[in-house]
């Protein structure tokens, strides 16, 4: 089948059904209109909700409920104790104006109280033993009042002392004690005679007589608290107390200032180098271009005292005082022997002496046992490897800035950077046992003050509120030569150290 034929087949069908039409039954349109009508009038389950008036009414009801919520809450079981005083007070105004109404209410209550369906302790005659008299279900009278009832003392005496008595109280008492209120009398009788009938039926009229007993009246009087003419209104004032939010201060360690001590084992290298060989070396080794000498770091230590101040949460500035014992070894491949005095000196010593001579420090050279100029005297250079202990003593005054990470944490980290003022104290060269070549600031060879750059990282562990331990890795490098302008010797000490310290935060 070729493609055109295939298309013919489809086109034929297409053309045939393009124009095809079939009239649908009328029920289709009826169904459509029915559905459209349904959609046009959407079924709203609560049509009344659409009415704005109803909406406003509902809103008002909700508002009313919200406002009356405290009152409803008051009438909850928790407030039942209050009701024993509140209930008669609330009915009291009605009683004062319309005694008949109170009678009616009282009758209803009595009917409830004496109803066989709701037996109470009153009906069983246990009032004297339970010390409580139940008038209405859920309402009890205080034991004090019951005892007064039982003893015949007018309980109103006590009440009168606190609350004013209504002017129409006597009339009410008369009414209550009269024949018009037999039901109340019945209740009174029931209360004061625990062993009386509790069937709830009205007693014979004999009990309604005025002279039944003073006890009856006494019992009635407190029950008819309508005598109180004072209107009580409980006010519920809703307010938000001005509670000042106590801002709990941040747990700041008293780290404004601190002081600490530490010891720093270190590796000190003076990096001293004799750049100009002695004259003896030049004479003896004319063919050699240079002399070999070097410094080797030795185990050193420093005793430190630190103090610091915290300038912000993270930043601090600290300073201190440190005594550094820097030990090193100077290694050279020969030494100089004085032909006159047979005094031997290593290359460094020889260079220093030469420097002393340049400074016109004759005493210094003389004390060393050399002539006026070691380089000019008759000397020999002995080509023999020699190690010389080269120890320094410095007093250091570091001034560093620190940036502390996690300052409030148990462990904090401080990055340090700053300068150290190195005050030269002493240098000792010990080329042979028992022989020391000492240099002091007065000799004028070493600079009295030499600056070093310092950096380090410190780990602080806060042991307690005031104490913390620290471990500091430090590096110091002299910014200039520690010697005065000396063309023969050069020295730029450097130090690696690890300080163990304890800090006290004030």
């Amino acid at each position: 089948m070729n493609q055109s034929e295939k298309h013919n087949f489809e086109d034929e069908w297409k053309q045939f059904f393009e124009s095809a039409s079939e009239t649908p039954p009328p029920s289709v349109w009826d169904g459509i209109t029915e559905q459209l009508d349904k959609k046009a009038t959407p079924i709203v389950p609560l049509v009344w909700w659409k009415n704005p008036r109803t909406l406003y009414t509902a809103a008002a009801v909700v508002a009313l409920l919200l406002l009356s919520w405290p009152i409803m809450k008051l009438r909850s079981p928790e407030s039942q104790k209050d009701r024993i005083t509140q209930t008669p007070q609330s009915t009291e105004p009605k009683a004062s104006t319309d005694p008949g109404l109170i009678e009616g209410n009282a009758s209803e209550r009595i009917a409830q109280a004496t109803s066989p369906a709701q037996p109470s302790s009153t009906n069983t005659g246990n009032a004297s033993t339970t010390n409580q008299l139940t008038i209405l279900p859920g309402i009890t009278l205080p034991a004090q009042l019951i005892s007064r009832l039982n003893s015949g003392i007018n309980p109103t005496q006590d009440i009168d002392s606190h609350q004013p008595v209504s002017a129409d109280a006597p009339a009410l008492s008369e009414k209550l004690s009269g024949e018009e209120t037999p039901s109340i009398v019945t209740l009174a009788k029931q209360h004061v005679t625990p062993n009386s009938s509790t069937s709830g039926q009205e007693l014979p009229p004999v009990l309604a007589e005025k002279n039944t007993s003073g006890l009856t009246l006494a019992a009635l009087t407190p029950l008819g608290t309508s005598e109180q003419s004072v209107y009580f209104q409980k006010r519920y004032v809703f307010y938000k107390p001005d509670v000042t939010e106590q801002v709990t201060p941040e747990p700041t360690r008293n780290t404004e200032y601190w002081a600490g001590i530490g010891v720093m084992p270190s590796s000190f290298n003076p990096q001293i180098n004799v750049t100009s060989p002695p004259a003896a070396f030049s004479q003896a080794n004319a063919s050699r271009q240079s002399m070999s000498n070097s410094s080797k770091a030795g185990l050193s230590y420093a005793l430190q005292m630190q103090t610091g101040v915290k300038v912000s949460k993270h930043w601090s500035i600290e300073t201190g005082l440190s005594y550094l014992q820097g030990n090193s070894t100077f290694i050279s491949d020969g030494y100089v022997l004085d032909a006159v005095t047979s005094r031997s000196a290593n290359v460094l010593e020889n260079a220093l002496l030469s420097g002393g001579q340049q400074k016109n420090n004759a005493d210094f050279t003389a004390s060393a046992g050399f002539g006026p100029d070691p380089n000019k005297i008759a000397a020999f250079y002995i080509d023999l490897d020699q190690s010389t202990n080269n120890d320094y003593r410095y007093l250091q005054l570091p001034v560093q800035a620190g940036y502390t990470l996690n300052p409030d944490g148990k462990v904090s980290y401080t990055v340090l950077g700053g300068m150290v003022a190195n005050l030269f104290l002493k240098n000792e060269l010990q080329s042979a046992s028992g022989y020391r070549f000492t240099t002091t600031p007065q000799d004028g060879l070493y600079r009295t003050l030499n600056w070093s750059a310092a950096t380090g990282v410190r780990f602080n562990y806060h042991i307690s509120e005031h104490f913390s331990a620290s471990l500091t890795g430090a590096y110091q490098k002299a910014l200039s030569s520690s010697l005065h302008n000396n063309s023969d010797v050069e020295s730029r000490p450097q130090l690696y150290g690890l300080t163990w310290g304890v800090r006290y935060d004030f």
Binding site: M1, E5, F9, E10, E12, W13, K14, F16, F17, E18, A20, S21, E22, T23, P24, P25, S27, V28, W29, G31, I32, T33, Q35, L36, K39, A40
Partner: protein, 189 residues
């Protein structure tokens, strides 16, 4: 009858019942014929047509007028019919066969001698998968890849189903034509 399409659409947008009725009268016949091609019986076609026009009235606001109204209505009816078929789960009957015979025997048959009801009956007698794909490909003009996407089947399945539909239809047409010829001959004798 010349229909002012824009006026009709505007009336439907305003939910005027008269405009809706006018639209229905204008297109219901052709759309009912379309529905009859897609479903198996008349009752289903009526349901599809009814649902389609409800949708049309609901979605008339989305008609932008950049294509003829008839095509827009037609697309809604076709989609409604497909949805109806899916509900009936008839499309599950489409075999996912990738082998299809493109060498369909040549045929000189034409549809000129057939009534619409006859051809409609032929289409409705096709298996549902074949019926749907035949309608979409041959009459609506969809491509196989479009049909595959529309029905969530493979393109090969669409092609094979179409081949099958075409073969079945040709058989029916041949059979019917032979019968007619024989009837003519018998009448001549």
């Amino acid at each position: 009858m010349i229909i002012d399409q824009q006026k009709l659409v505007d009336g439907c947008r305003k939910r005027e019942r008269s405009a809706q009725k006018q639209l229905y009268d204008a297109f219901a016949g052709k759309m009912f014929a379309l529905c009859l091609r897609y479903v198996k019986d008349r009752t289903d076609a009526e349901d599809v047509l009814q649902d389609s026009f409800i949708k049309i009235y609901d979605k008339i606001d989305s008609f932008r007028g950049d294509s003829p109204l008839q095509y827009w209505i037609r697309s809604i009816v076709v989609n409604t019919a497909l949805k109806h078929i899916r509900k009936q789960k008839h499309l599950l009957e489409i075999d996912d066969v990738h082998t299809y015979d493109t060498n369909i025997a040549d045929s000189e048959l034409t549809l000129s001698g057939f009534q619409m009801q006859q051809l409609l009956g032929f289409i409705q007698e096709l298996p549902t998968g074949c019926q749907t794909i035949f309608n979409l490909y041959a009459i609506e003009g969809y491509q196989h890849n479009e049909i595959a996407e529309l029905l969530s089947i493979s393109e090969g399945t669409s092609k094979s189903q179409y081949s099958r539909a075409r073969m079945l239809l040709q058989q029916k047409l041949n059979k019917e034509q032979r019968f007619d010829n024989e009837s003519v001959r018998k009448t001549q004798f």
